[in-house]
């Protein structure tokens, strides 16, 4: 143990004596480790952010939307084949889903569906009350939306069947609206009539409920919209009447707990396929939240692998650099090696000395790399995601072990060469 610490001390000394050389040697290791750690930090933050946000929306959700058909190859009568280009095809009202289709769907799979959430965006507007104003994004929603999008009511109640069926002017607003317009007093807000300006028109809505903006899916939307603007929910039919349009581009289904969402997504696609049999450009796509999360993490995984390969090459080059510098170092210190042997150092301790030196170089390089990686990754994560960085402890420990392994691997050959030096030759070396 004595000898080991002595070796570490010696290694640090020799690094200190050749600072520039040591730094250049470490550069490959630093770059390699830093890039792995940075991407892992970003990836970790991203995936914990995504899963956090997405799972708040419900893991049993299936998303159904209009989607562009994949290109088809057609063969003409003359035998020429060409690829049909539908990338320019525009979406017309005829291509969209209508309420009847969705009602049929709900009836067919009544035993599998616990809620269907449809959202009809009316547009951004603002609630105006005297001199007070607050921006809102007005959305018409069906009863199921509260379940599929996990909207948590803080006070009041949700719309009832009568209100949704008859285009009543009622609304549910966020606690932010209540904070600004009613001084945070929910009971004052509920029952109040507010004036909402959408484009140039004004509408009066009665507040029936307040939802918790922070807790629900609203948090995700807030990253996309700016400032104080939150969603204001109105009954679906009310929205359809305001915009004079009753078609559906996408909707969300909450499958029952015992239904496999992936299988149900396939069933959903099959259900809608006949409606679009004659539509060359558009079709209906359905995917589950689980498959969406999976897709995101597999994308992240692919990216991580790609960067890891590049980092691996940097580490390989770095390792060769370490080997090179160790060979230089043992040549420079040939007399020292001879002297140590004369003083009674066994070959094994000479070998240990230089392996420790290589490991120390790599370890310091690794630590600098980790520091840069965590720093850079956290910065990127906080800029891109506005979420706290989440460096993976496992990858940090892994990187430290890996850089030590590089030291041992690339240090062994030079160290062994030093250990096997002939003491007489070494002592005579000028």
């Amino acid at each position: 143990m004595n000898l080991f610490f002595e070796n570490v001390r010696l290694a640090l000394f020799s690094l200190k004596a050749n600072k520039m050389r040591a730094l250049l040697t470490m550069l490959g290791i630093i770059i390699g480790i830093a890039s792995v750690i940075a991407i892992m930090t970003v990836g970790n933050s991203l995936s914990s952010y995504m899963t956090g946000e997405l799972s708040s929306l419900g893991t049993n959700n299936v998303y159904v939307s209009i989607s562009r058909r994949e290109k088809k190859t057609e063969t003409t009568e003359e035998g020429h084949s060409f690829e049909q280009d539908n990338s320019q095809a525009s979406l017309t009202e005829d291509d969209l889903m209508n309420r009847e289709m969705i009602e049929n769907y709900a009836e067919t799979y009544a035993d599998k569906i616990s809620a269907i959430g449809i959202q009809r965006n009316v547009g951004s507007g603002q609630i105006v009350q005297g001199t007070k104003k607050i921006g809102v994004d007005v959305n018409g929603i069906t009863l199921g939306y509260m379940l599929t999008d996990n909207v948590k009511l803080k006070a009041g109640r949700f719309f009832n069947e009568r209100e949704t069926g008859t285009s009543k002017r009622v609304c549910i607003v966020s606690n932010k609206v209540v904070d600004k317009m009613f001084g945070g007093n929910d009971s004052d807000a509920i029952g109040s009539i507010v004036q909402v300006q959408i484009d140039t028109a004004y509408y009066d809505f009665t507040i029936v409920g307040v939802y918790d903006y922070e807790a629900g899916a609203g948090a995700l939307a807030s990253y996309m919209s700016m400032g104080d603007t939150t969603d204001m929910y109105i009954p679906y039919q009310t929205a359809a009447d305001i915009v004079h349009a009753d078609y559906v581009v996408y909707f969300t289904v909450l499958a029952k707990a015992d239904v496999d969402p992936d299988e149900f997504a396939d069933l959903t696609k099959q259900f809608f396929a006949p409606y679009y049999r004659n539509n060359d450009n558009w079709t209906i796509d359905a995917y589950s939240m689980a498959s969406y999360v999976e897709m995101m993490s597999s994308m992240m995984g692919t990216l991580t692998t790609a960067i890891s390969v590049i980092a691996g090459i940097a580490l390989l080059v770095g390792g060769i650099g370490v080997m090179n510098i160790m060979l230089v170092s043992i040549t420079e210190r040939t007399r020292e090696i001879g002297t140590r042997k004369a003083l009674g150092a066994p070959n094994s301790s000479i070998r240990l000395q230089f392996i420790v030196e290589a490991v120390v170089i790599c370890l310091i390089g690794g630590m600098i790399g980790i520091a840069i990686g965590v720093g850079g990754g956290s910065l990127a994560a906080s800029l891109l995601l506005k979420s706290p960085a989440n460096p993976s402890i496992a990858s940090i420990i892994g990187s430290l072990l890996f850089s030590m392994a590089i030291g041992v691997f690339f240090g062994y050959y030079p160290a062994n060469k030093a250990a096997k030096m002939d003491p007489i030759e070494a002592l005579r070396y000028e």
């Binding site: 004595n2 000394f13 020292e336 003083l343 009674g344 007489i424």
Partner: protein, 238 residues
């Protein structure tokens, strides 16, 4: 006459280089040499006489082609390669012409080095190293790096280092060769002190007849053979 213990017992040592090639070269032609405990012996000879080769063999850095060598009761011919480093560590203290202190390592750490390889523990090691540095008059410069010391000072540290594990012999190869005469004198005085006060067995390799004369016995090598063994002044003064 009282029975004296043989520390070095070399018999018919032959050393050949490039064996089996047209360049085969016999450097030592059959050396017989005995050194007794507490003796201060000088080996002199011109360059090419085989002094260095003999020293390498005595120092167990090299093996003879044939012959017998017993060092302090250990048969060095039978010793395995892996055992030689331990023997060097315990039984031999080297002093080189070029000092060979470990760079960027202070005097104290340099003296501790052989003890480190011997597995002597921290406090004991440092205490012993301080003791030895005091013995050679370097107690004020223990924390100095080799590059901060003069040639004579370096050599004194090297002598302290050679003494670290209380070896059976000190093997000094031209220890004053790189020093001016007055510093050389100082270094020689330290060897005499170690010899007189500690009863150290010292083998001094030198080409200076004056220094050789100060020792108990002078062994002259020529063309790989011992041509004369005679008592030096040191022996007579005793």
């Amino acid at each position: 006459m009282e029975e004296r213990k043989k520390i070095i017992d070399l018999q018919d040592i032959i050393k050949k280089f490039y064996i089996g090639t047209p360049n085969e070269l016999t450097v030592l032609h059959g050396i017989d040499l005995e050194v007794y405990e507490g003796e201060f012996v000088a080996v002199v000879g011109a360059s090419g006489s085989g002094k260095s080769t003999l020293m390498n063999i005595i120092g167990s850095l090299d093996r003879p082609t044939s012959g017998k060598y017993v060092l302090d009761g250990v048969d060095m011919i039978k010793a395995k390669d892996s055992e030689l480093s331990g023997i060097r560590n315990q039984k031999i203290g080297f002093v080189f012409q070029t000092y060979n202190l470990i760079a960027k390592t202070n005097a104290l750490k340099n003296v501790e080095m052989p003890m480190l390889y011997a597995g002597v523990h921290g406090k004991k090691r440092t205490e012993r190293a301080k003791e030895l540095l005091t013995l050679v008059g370097m107690e004020d410069r223990m924390k100095h790096l080799p590059e901060e010391l003069s040639g004579g000072q370096k050599q004194r540290v090297a002598i302290a280092r050679a003494m670290a594990n209380d070896p059976a012999i000190i093997l000094a190869d031209e220890p004053t060769g790189a020093l001016d005469s007055s510093t050389g004198r100082l270094v020689m005085d330290i060897f005499h002190k170690l010899h007189r006060e500690q009863g150290k067995t010292i083998v001094l390799i030198t080409h200076s007849p004056e220094l050789a004369e100060e020792t108990d016995r002078v062994i002259t090598l020529k063309d790989g053979l011992v041509t004369s063994i005679r008592s030096g002044m040191g022996g007579r003064l005793e």
